[in-house]
Structures are given as structure tokens and as C-alpha cells.
Amino acid sequence: MNSQSMWIIIIGGMIVTYIFRSSFIVFLKNGNIPIVLFKSLRFTPAVVLSALIMQMLVKNGEAVQLSINNPRIIAGIIAIIIAWKFHNTGLTLITGMCSLWLFTFIIK
């Protein structure tokens, strides 16, 4: 893809993001939103993150590799356990990266 489509993504991304951010702060006087929308919005971060994480873990390069031979899956599982136990970003990052390097080396 070319640099022109990257500019489209940057400008489009800027517009949608700014609309969301300013939506209620700028345009609503009392901050009341419909309750169903409010409830759905609360689920979006967890749901979006989870879907993105899973897709990133099973993809090894371009191809989908759903097996124990994919080091990303093993490293990802280890990172999930560490993140869940310790709630520490730095620790999750270090353990995850080291596991990936280790298992890439072993599986090769």
C-alpha cells in the first residue's frame, strides 16, 4: 500500500477519535446519555482488546497457526497468567518477550 492511503487513515482516524473525545464534553450540557448506550460502551474496551489479542497470538507472520508449535501462543498464555496474577505492565512485557525468544529458539 502507498503513503496516500496512510494519510487517509491518519486523517480519518483523527476525525473519528476527536468526535468521540469531544462528543459529550463539548456538546452536551448535563452529561446524560441513554442507558443502553452507556452499558454497551462499558464492554467495548475488554471485548475489543480480547479479540485483537487472540488474533495477534494465533497469527504467525501472515499465516494462521493454531498449534503448540506457534511460539506466540505459548508466550501469550504465559503473559496472560503473569498479567492476571501481578497486574504489572513491565513484568508482563519482559516475561512475554523472553518467553517468545526462548520458545522461538527451542521450536526452531
Partner: protein
């Protein structure tokens, strides 16, 4: 005049101080973004403009991943929108505290609204004093924003130096994992996240990554359903 100055100073400084520990999370993230952008062939100017104009880490890195997969730009913008939808929720929650400010302040503070900024402001600004709020917000947001922008520049500079075999792009799912844990605060949240995670894998081969869209939608519906069910169960327990 002096009193006003004191309020400005103390709120600004305490906001900046409160956000400092969170810089530790922002800086590696920014470096990864900058380096990743360069590694997939995006120009330094575009990488830095992306950070300045969009100012939202997860969406930016996800967009790069989709760009690499040759996904249609419109769908990538749509994905950015989905990831950043949560800002609408934040905006709604903060609107109550900020509605007395003038439009210039509102426009500036909107640009600076991020996960960390939102959480810190919500936590601290209990008093009904818009003047203190805005300077505290300024301190937090300016600290977070400058750390993000500077670390992106650092990543852009370091990008060509970091070898591909280190697979630093893997830092992205790791940061997402860490971020996700903070959101799993209730049973409906956990179930909705597991549902969308499984569906995202099952549907991964759908064209244009529509699998991502469906798994997100179904995940939200499952979460809403379970929350509703929990409520009805609770209300039928005799007191």
C-alpha cells in the same frame, strides 16, 4: 490574583506528579509504535503525524497491523473508531465535571482525553471547582501527551537500529494483555471478553477482518445479556 496563581500552580503540579508513574507504561509503548511504524515502511513524518493527530496508542498500533495486512483504509478507520469508542464513555463521564469551562478549554482537554487521563481525573476531581479541575487535568494530560509524543520520536529514531529477529512487534499483544486485565472487573466483563476472544479466532479467515467486527458485537451482546440475567436473579432473592 495571587490566590488564583497558587491554585493554578498547585493543581498543575499535582496533576503532573500524579501521572508520572504512568509514564513508565507510556514510554515503551511509544517507542514500540515508532519503531514498528518505521519497520513496516511508514515514513518518519507520517509516524509522528499519526501520534500528534490521533494521540491514541492502541488504535494507532492496531491500525499499523491492519495496514500491513493490506486492509482497505476505510475499514481501518472503522477499526480505529471501534477501538476508540470508549472515549465517548469517558467524555460522557467527564462532561459533568467540565461543563462550566469555556469552549477553548473544552476543545483542548478533549484532544488530551486518554485512558490514564480519564482514570486520574475521575479519581481526583471530586470538588466542584472547575478552575482546579482544568489545571489538574492540564498537568496530567500534558505529562502523558509529551511522554507519548517524545517516545514515538525516539522509536522512529531507533527503528532502523532494532533488528527484526527480536520481534518487538510482539510487545503490542503483551501491552494489550496487560491493559485487558484492568477491564475484567466483573463476571459479565470476563465472559464477554472470552466470547469475543474465541470468536475472533474462529472467524479469523473471514474477508476484510469482518470476524473482528462480529466477535466484538457478539461479545458486547453476551455481556449485556449476562448482566441483565444477574440483575433479575438478584431481584428475585427474598429479603
Amino acid at each position: 490574583m495571587n490566590l488564583r496563581k497558587t491554585i493554578v500552580n498547585t493543581s498543575l503540579v499535582s496533576g503532573f506528579k500524579d501521572q508520572l508513574p504512568y509514564n513508565l507504561g507510556v514510554i515503551p509503548y511509544g517507542v514500540v509504535f515508532g519503531a514498528y511504524a518505521i519497520s513496516i515502511g511508514i515514513s518518519p513524518v507520517q509516524a509522528i503525524s499519526f501520534s500528534l493527530l490521533v494521540n491514541a496508542g492502541s488504535a494507532q498500533i492496531a491500525a499499523l497491523g491492519l495496514f500491513l495486512d493490506n486492509i482497505n483504509p476505510i475499514l481501518i478507520i472503522f477499526s480505529i473508531a471501534l477501538i476508540n469508542l470508549r472515549f465517548m464513555l469517558y467524555s460522557a463521564s467527564l462532561a459533568v465535571k467540565l461543563y462550566k469551562l469555556n469552549s477553548y478549554w473544552k476543545l483542548l482537554l478533549s484532544y488530551w482525553l486518554t485512558d490514564t487521563t480519564f482514570l486520574l481525573i475521575l479519581n481526583k476531581c471530586q470538588l466542584d471547582n472547575p478552575n482546579e479541575h482544568k489545571w489538574y487535568y492540564f498537568g496530567v494530560a500534558f505529562g502523558q501527551w509529551s511522554a507519548w509524543e517524545l517516545s514515538c520520536v525516539l522509536g522512529v529514531l531507533l527503528g532502523p537500529v532494532i533488528p527484526a529477529s527480536l520481534s518487538l512487534g510482539f510487545a503490542l499483544p503483551l501491552l494489550f494483555i496487560s491493559l485487558l486485565m484492568g477491564h475484567l472487573s466483573s463476571k459479565p466483563m470476563v465472559v464477554s471478553a472470552i466470547t469475543s476472544g474465541i470468536l475472533a479466532v474462529v472467524l479469523i479467515n473471514l474477508p476484510n477482518n469482518f470476524g473482528l467486527f462480529f466477535s466484538i458485537l457478539i461479545g458486547i451482546l453476551v455481556g449485556l445479556f449476562i448482566e441483565q440475567k444477574q440483575k433479575t436473579n438478584r431481584s428475585t432473592i427474598p429479603l
